[in-house]
């Protein structure tokens, strides 16, 4: 007979461990969104202006839009590969709640996509003329923002996981919900560049992050339940 079961915490560690291991066995798939991030931020200077002083005004917006778009690229794969090979069903039958599964997978996904983006952002920031004094705000803002985006993306990915061409629909669903993120995140960086206090914007970003982190796992697990039907 079976034992009494495995705690949710241990299950989350197992799932995160598996997902991270799978990600690192395909390192090229980890790098693609990061390269996309770099390419998109290169497009703006090419399309707009060479002068760093002019770019600096646009820099927060450009940085955040590029971060949003490259995160969206990787979000589609959050649940898709598990749904395609049948392992999502096995996860749903593992005795663990779908919420636990959604939390673990989203966190693992953020570690390899959002967190990686945050690490690369100083390179991009230099290219856009953002002064080093604004880096702390930028890094903090991007960390909170990419985490919130991962949660929103988990809801969108759960809703679109079984669909063909789901990735376009995913962007359509997630981007409007992500607009407050963009507003506060770019706003915070902008204020840091101009020297005024970015605390207000950062607090809002943090509260958005907490709010989304609390509610999104339930919405994502409800979406997965619909997808599994």
């Amino acid at each position: 007979m079976t034992d009494t079961g495995v705690s949710a915490g241990r299950a989350m560690m197992l799932i995160m461990h598996r997902d991270l291991r799978l990600s690192f066995r395909r390192p090229e798939q980890l790098l693609q969104p990061l390269v996309f991030f770099l390419i998109v931020t290169t497009l703006f200077p090419l399309g707009l202006s060479v002068q760093l002083s002019l770019l600096r005004d646009m820099a927060p917006g450009v940085l955040w839009v590029a971060a949003l778009l490259s995160s969206l690229l990787s979000l589609d794969s959050l649940f898709r590969s598990d749904a395609d090979d049948g392992t999502l069903e096995q996860l749903a039958l593992s005795g663990q709640s779908l919420t636990t599964i959604a939390i673990a997978k989203t966190l693992a996904h953020w570690l390899v996509s959002g967190a990686a983006l945050v690490l690369v952002s100083p390179v991009v920031a230099i290219g856009l003329g953002i002064p080093v004094s604004a880096f702390a705000t930028m890094l903090l803002g991007l960390s909170l923002g990419t985490l919130t985006l991962s949660w929103l993306g988990a809801i969108g990915a759960g809703l679109t996981v079984g669909l063909r061409r789901g990735n376009v629909l995913l962007s359509l669903i997630v981007l409007p919900l992500a607009m407050p993120l963009l507003i506060f995140g770019a706003g915070a960086t902008d204020r840091a560049i101009s020297g005024t206090s970015a605390a207000g914007a950062l607090y809002f970003l943090a509260s958005l992050c907490v709010f989304t982190s609390t509610l999104a796992p339930f919405a994502a697990s409800a979406a997965l339940r619909i997808a599994l039907d």
Binding site: T160, G162, F184, F204, A223
Partner: protein, 244 residues
Amino acid sequence: MWTWFYRLASPPHVYRVAATLTPWFLTAAVFAIGYGAIAGLVFAPPDYQQGDAFRIIYVHAPSGWISMFAYSTMAVAGAIGLIWHMKMGYAVAAAVAPIGASFTVLALVTGSLWGRPMWGTYWAWDPRLTSELILLFLYVGVMSLRPAFEDGNRGDRAAALLSIVGVVNVPIIHYSVLWWNSLHQGATVAKLGQPLMPPSMLLPLLSMMLGFMCFFGAVLCMRLRGEVLNRERQATWVREAIKS
């Protein structure tokens, strides 16, 4: 006490109720919009600042309000469908979506037309218009999600979940756009809503609001009947209803 609610789970009942309500809504809409339009467009005095251009508020404000109300209705109907497994909830949500989206477009177009005499441009990123635009994107997302599923029931449930997630975000989006706009004042000073108005201006506005609501109700009932017929097309009562 809740029997009226549980009876709404029955498609033929909903079909009949919607048929009964439609003419009432339509009559009320005609009278309210009629009074509001004549009183507002003809008799109300011109605004000292904007002249006659402000009159577009009689269409713009009600359509903006209905666009938000319709989204909430869609979310609540979807929630009823999810919680009580009532298929009629999904039918209402599906019926409301295009109506709400149309009112959103109307609000955007009238807002844009208002912008021309006010600011000299057809578009300005002021908080209300920007919020309306994002609301339109939310509508498009929900309306695109439902047909993407082959199984209609899964599509209904996914769309209901998305509209609930959206409705929670609407106040957040509204506030963040307001904050963003207050930082970037620029050339646009938003005065699309007039908080203090004399009765000669206010009464027609309220009447238009009421009229638009009744019109919304009438169109919703008509679309709902169509939705019910489509979803229940296999049932025998539908064949009877079509014959009669």
